[in-house]
Symmetry: C2
Subunit: 101 residues, 2 copies
Amino acid sequence: MNTAKRKRLESAGWRFGNAADFLGMPPEEEAYVKLKLRLADALEAKRKAEHLTQKALATRLKSSQSRVAFMEKGDPSVTVDLLVRGLFALGVSRKELAKAI
Amino acid sequence: MNTAKRKRLESAGWRFGNAADFLGMPPEEEAYVKLKLRLADALEAKRKAEHLTQKALATRLKSSQSRVAFMEKGDPSVTVDLLVRGLFALGVSRKELAKAI
DNA sequence: ACATATTATATCATTCCTGATATGTCGTCA
DNA sequence: TGACGACATATCAGGAATGATATAATATGT
């Protein structure tokens, strides 16, 4: 699977896809992409549990609303790094982070 | 604590320091830095358990020996992203990753 | 329908991470 | 001692991630 196609899959529908989306993907990359989606979902869940808007979270993170939107979609332009910092900014502990993974 | 000093602490001795090293650091940043160190330690441990040199791991990661050295020190120039990809390249599962966190 | 709030998408300049390279340090072994 | 292997440290060009901004889409309430 080439990079361009993978990026489209990631940014678009593949969160609703099944295992076939990962066909041909090296296992370490599959693990990495799945991790990002799990963190993305955890971030959105935690933000909503705190009754915060994307904008409010962006302010805490010293980021922008648009980037938070991408974070919650697991967009390829967002790193694990930023997702983790987002969760910490929401007060998540390392233990809770581990549970999300 | 300013950024420059923090970077020096991170890259130099503070892995041997105590809680005082984190004084004045916002909790979300403390969590982030601690996370990086845990991942760094896990990476080194896993690499050694596999009897690999830094150079061998670098090849798997499509990186360089020097970067692997920085990764294992938790150097500020290394992101959580790269550490996680390093662990996955060593065959670590998401579950094992969570345990390391 | 309208206004407002929230989220999604597109584009872009700047920053920072990355891999590469060179070189240094340290230990080991002949 | 010298040669060698493994790891540490410095520097840097290139590229990817970031925050910002603008704007579009979608909700939610009146």
